[in-house]
């Protein structure tokens, strides 16, 4: 999609041309044709189609609201002006980015950025991971703030602070000062809260939130460092990342081989020339840990050899025979060398 896309401004509708009855008539006269069959037909047509469009919008609006999304093209201001639906016990938050009447604009922006990345066809994986972690951080922060709000306690430094800056207050040392741990001060309140809520304000909940935030910050720092390191090494990111480790295949016949392994692997396929046209199978695995292998025949193609090396298979050399399926006669060998071949130290010569 590299050609210029034509965009137009939102049209200012002046109203449909309902009196089009005589457009295709030789004696077209707009004053005369106001009430003829064609004009009546056009009026009726507009009624039908406008009702269909309205029905479509209503259906889309209902579906979006049931899913908790703001509908279509309404601005956030228009959404906030919408009437509530008390008969459904509807919360403001279900209609979009409001939760208990606290706008979460930054979360919405992060979510949109994530969706944009995913929909782009070639997302930046590290950037995407960073956005997701930021979203988690924002969500935890907002929920923590809501928790304080639900308990009737707000962050020490004032009001509801929304967006990504308010979490700084959780690191504020004031939260851990004696004011909050002063049992004498909270006395009755403490007992009341303790009975009904698992957390005492400014105590365990705050510590948990702070701990999670620190973990998320550490993860973000590690990701940033990895991004910087990759940029320094000038390595292009390969998306999606190749799942298998390096594999070497040595075969005496042209058979496609598919290998899935967690470590460096060397495959040796020893078959006589022409035997690839036979219906072959790998002999059953031995009792001890072994690799999986079988010949898979596709409907319209040649047979391929599929090898899967389990993660817990120790490094070493493994061998199985290749048989003719119909007779069980061995015709060749399949060898899998997993991991580096151990170097044998030369024996020291006796003087």
């Amino acid at each position: 999609m590299d050609s210029p896309r034509h965009r137009r401004r939102r049209p200012q509708r002046t109203g449909p041309l309902r009196n089009t009855g005589g457009v295709f008539r030789d004696d077209y006269d707009s004053a005369r044709t106001r009430d003829d069959a064609a004009s009546r037909g056009v009026r009726e047509g507009y009624q039908v189609i406008d009702e269909q469009i309205r029905r479509g919008h209503r259906m889309a609006q209902t579906m979006c609201e049931e899913n908790g999304y703001g509908y279509g093209y309404a601005t956030s201001r228009e959404r906030s002006r919408r009437p509530r639906y008390p008969e459904e016990g509807h919360r403001e938050g279900r209609r979009g980015h409001n939760l208990l009447e606290m706008p979460m604009r930054h979360i919405e922006c992060l979510a949109q950025e994530i969706l944009h990345q995913i929909g782009s066809g070639r997302p930046d994986p590290l950037g995407l991971a960073e956005l997701v972690l930021q979203l988690q951080l924002e969500a935890i922060s907002e929920l923590a703030c809501l928790g304080f709000g639900a308990l009737g306690r707000y962050p020490r430094h004032g009001h509801h602070h929304h967006g990504h800056h308010h979490h700084d207050h959780y690191h504020d040392d004031h939260y851990h000062d004696d004011h909050y741990h002063d049992d004498h001060h909270y006395g009755d309140d403490h007992d009341r809260y303790h009975d009904h809520y698992p957390y005492y304000p400014g105590d365990t909940l705050c510590d948990d939130v702070a701990s999670v935030e620190r973990d998320i910050d550490d993860s973000l720092d590690r990701i940033q460092e990895e991004i910087r390191e990759r940029e320094r090494e000038d390595q292009p990111w390969d998306w999606p990342a190749a799942p298998s480790s390096p594999t070497t295949i040595r075969s005496t016949v042209p058979i496609p081989v598919f290998v899935s392994a967690h470590d460096r692997t060397e495959i040796g396929l020893d078959l006589p020339a022409g035997s690839q046209s036979l219906d072959l199978e790998i002999e059953p695995p031995p009792p001890e840990p072994a690799f999986e292998a079988d010949f898979v025949t596709l409907a319209d193609g040649p047979a391929i050899l599929r090898i899967e090396v389990p993660r817990d298979l120790p490094a070493g050399r493994y061998r199985r025979r290749i048989l003719v399926r119909a007779t069980g006669e061995p015709v060749g060998d399949l060898t899998v060398q997993l991991g580096a071949v151990p170097k044998t130290r030369p024996k020291a010569r006796k003087p």
Binding site: R5, P11, L17, T20, A38, G45, Y46, V48
Partner: protein, 344 residues
């Protein structure tokens, strides 16, 4: 630049040929061929005007896309259209399609229906291929649009079949408009243009609702003209003459005739519509056509088609006037006139 019918024919020929070529890639050469895939390929090979794919491609190009970007959507629409034709011929007991025996006449109803369903499934594949180069959002929107197109078409077909089964005769023009909007317009004009606009613009936009109005007026004018041709057309038309009346279809002419006929004539027309197809052939259907001419039902329908085409022009200019001048934009404008004047 070419104008008028020459332009329309030139674009239909060019885009139609490209669509046919691309469509071959989506007709599998698999087994069972004798019972399925040869049947699946039959209707697409018989040709046709290819108006729907051309609408899609032309709209996409008017919004800035390349032909190859719109081709897959055009193929999808054409496959779906052929699926509906197979099923329609079974519903209507039509014996001819594009000058040759219908699929169910050649192979029986069960195999024909199965082939028709397969064509509908195959129509999804070209849209999913858009993930290569368009990301994930555009293919999803395309499939959503196709879903709506399919659903509206089914609802329209249900209305028409239901009216026939229950011999409903108390209908007005608005009932006809709603049925045609669903049964014909969504997959003939509305969705092809909306798919094209989506590909061209890279996203669905609020102003594309205008395409629903434009497609409705244009598509209904097209359908009414088709209904008129079925009564006055000749051997170039490709369908049996009077076939709609023999099927008992509630066209605008039938509705107008019922509204204007005497009570005795109304009873006779209602009895005609309730009778089996074989009892309508010959003198009964000729009598109905004569009454239509007497009450001016055919001229009435043509006049309404003219009015709707005028409304289509208005909606067209509302959306397309700001777009750059191009052969495709002119083609779309000329097409509205062409559907009114065509005789096949």
């Amino acid at each position: 630049m070419m104008r008028g019918e020459a332009l329309v024919q030139s674009v239909l020929t060019e885009y139609g040929a490209l669509t046919r070529q691309a469509l071959r890639r989506y007709l599998p050469a698999l087994e069972p061929r004798r019972y399925l895939y040869d049947l699946v390929a039959d209707y697409p090979r018989r040709g046709g005007k290819m108006m729907r794919p051309c609408l899609c491609i032309a709209t996409a190009r008017a919004f800035g896309a390349r032909v190859e970007e719109a081709l897959r959507a055009a193929v999808s629409i054409e496959l779906f259209h052929n699926s509906l034709l197979v099923h329609d011929d079974v519903h209507d007991e039509s014996e001819l399609r594009r000058g040759s025996p219908s699929l169910h006449v050649l192979h029986g109803v069960p195999l024909a229906l199965n082939a028709g369903s397969t064509l509908a499934m195959l129509s999804l594949r070209p849209l999913t291929d858009y993930k290569l180069g368009f990301g994930f959002k555009v293919p999803l929107l395309l499939v959503e649009e196709l879903e709506r197109m399919g659903r509206e078409s089914a609802e329209g077909q249900a209305l028409e079949l239901g009216w026939r089964r229950d011999n409903v005769v108390e209908l007005c023009d608005a009932d006809y408009f709603e049925m045609v909007l669903k049964k014909t317009c969504w997959y003939t004009t509305i969705s092809p243009m909306r798919l094209g606009a989506l590909i061209g613009a890279g996203d669905m936009r609020p102003e594309f609702d205008i395409l629903i109005r434009l497609g409705f007026f244009f598509g209904t004018a097209f359908q009414i003209r088709d209904d008129v041709l079925n009564l006055i057309g000749d051997e170039r038309y490709g369908k049996e003459i009077y076939d709609d009346l023999l099927e008992g279809k509630r066209t605008l002419m039938v509705i107008h005739l019922l509204a204007n006929a005497t009570a005795q004539e109304q009873e006779r027309i209602a009895a005609f519509l309730a009778s089996p197809r074989e009892e309508r052939i010959g003198e009964p259907v000729r009598w109905v056509v004569e009454r239509m001419k007497h009450y001016g039902s055919i001229d009435y329908a043509q006049e309404i088609a003219n009015g709707l085409a005028g409304a289509a022009f208005h909606e067209f200019s509302t959306l397309f006037d700001d777009l750059p001048d191009s052969r495709d934009k002119h083609f779309l404008a000329e097409l509205i006139t062409w559907v009114l004047k065509r005789d096949s």
